[in-house]
């Protein structure tokens, strides 16, 4: 088992993601980092001036804070399940190894 090599690989994978995410923040000065679909709305406005959305979202988060709460809940819920599953699998595989 080259567990330690695997561990290093995993940290490198994470590092890669962090570098990819932080680089734009450092190198692109003065960008707003808004959402890509906000820009799409502008383009639709250019192509078809006067286009109005024909339905309103059924519920809009009342503020940026509430929206970030909902987004972080989504991430937390998902991360919790992933952590639970991987932890369970890990415990199970160690038990099996101890039996052998």
């Amino acid at each position: 088992m080259n567990q330690s090599k695997q561990g290093i690989t995993n940290w490198l994978l994470l590092l890669g993601v962090i570098v990819l995410s932080v680089t734009p923040l450092i190198f692109i000065k003065g960008a707003e980092f808004g959402g890509a679909d906000g820009q799409a709305e502008q383009v639709i406005g250019e192509i078809k001036p006067g286009y109005q959305p024909w339905v309103k979202p059924f519920f809009e988060p009342p503020s940026g804070e509430i929206e970030s709460l909902l987004f972080s809940s989504q991430a937390a819920l998902g991360a919790g399940i992933i952590g639970y599953a991987i932890g369970l699998y890990k415990g199970r595989s160690q038990q099996q190894r101890n039996k052998e």
């Binding site: 680089t23 734009p24 959402g35 799409a40 286009y51 519920f59």
Partner: protein
Amino acid sequence: MGTLSFYLVVSAAAPAYGMHIMEGYLPPAWAAFWWVVALPFMILGVRSLTRITKANPELKLLLALAGAFTFVLSALKLPSVTGSCSHPTGTGLGAVLFGPLAMSVLGTLVLVFQALLLAHGGLTTLGANAFSMAIAGPFAAYWIYHLIMQLTGKQKIAIFSAAALADLLTYVITSVQLALAFPAPVGGFIASFAKFAGIFAITQVPLAISEGLLTVLVWNWLQSYSPQELEILQLIKRQPQTHESI
């Protein structure tokens, strides 16, 4: 660091953003069209899921993990080289594990959650968004994975490419959908597609790479700790240790 967090806080207060097609931004005819295209996949997906869970109930946890992975990744709005933010999709992992049809259901569930609670995407545009993120992306991931496995047999490269390209294709499809609905007065569909792809697809390139890396990370965990499940899914071929490293 202070300015950075200030930036993030300020941009977080901007209304409605992300990457799915926004509620009400597809004309009714197109919205209906994509619903009709997406529905059969969802029905087949539900059947595929029931078949998987009936045959191998022990895979339910892994199924939950695949769904949770999509849940986490589509909640992470990452900054990109274009100076705007978008999020990955996380559908590649589940597509490779359980097949693309299973992902059509899981991905749609994520989209419903975001449409209802976050005003992110929408119900009228759900058909279109489900087609790009939960159908086209997973199918691409599935095919790319099997293609690269057949050509090279290098599993990690196959996983990485499947996840990254599925992510990218999702947003190419989004651009196609918007361009079809809003062809430019001059230059028509092509001109519009260039504009939308310039926003969505280019923004997505570094995120797609990130998604590929994260998918390989989870894959490594699964390979170390739950080889039985992967064996049931016939994803582990008894191969010599030399293929283990990237």
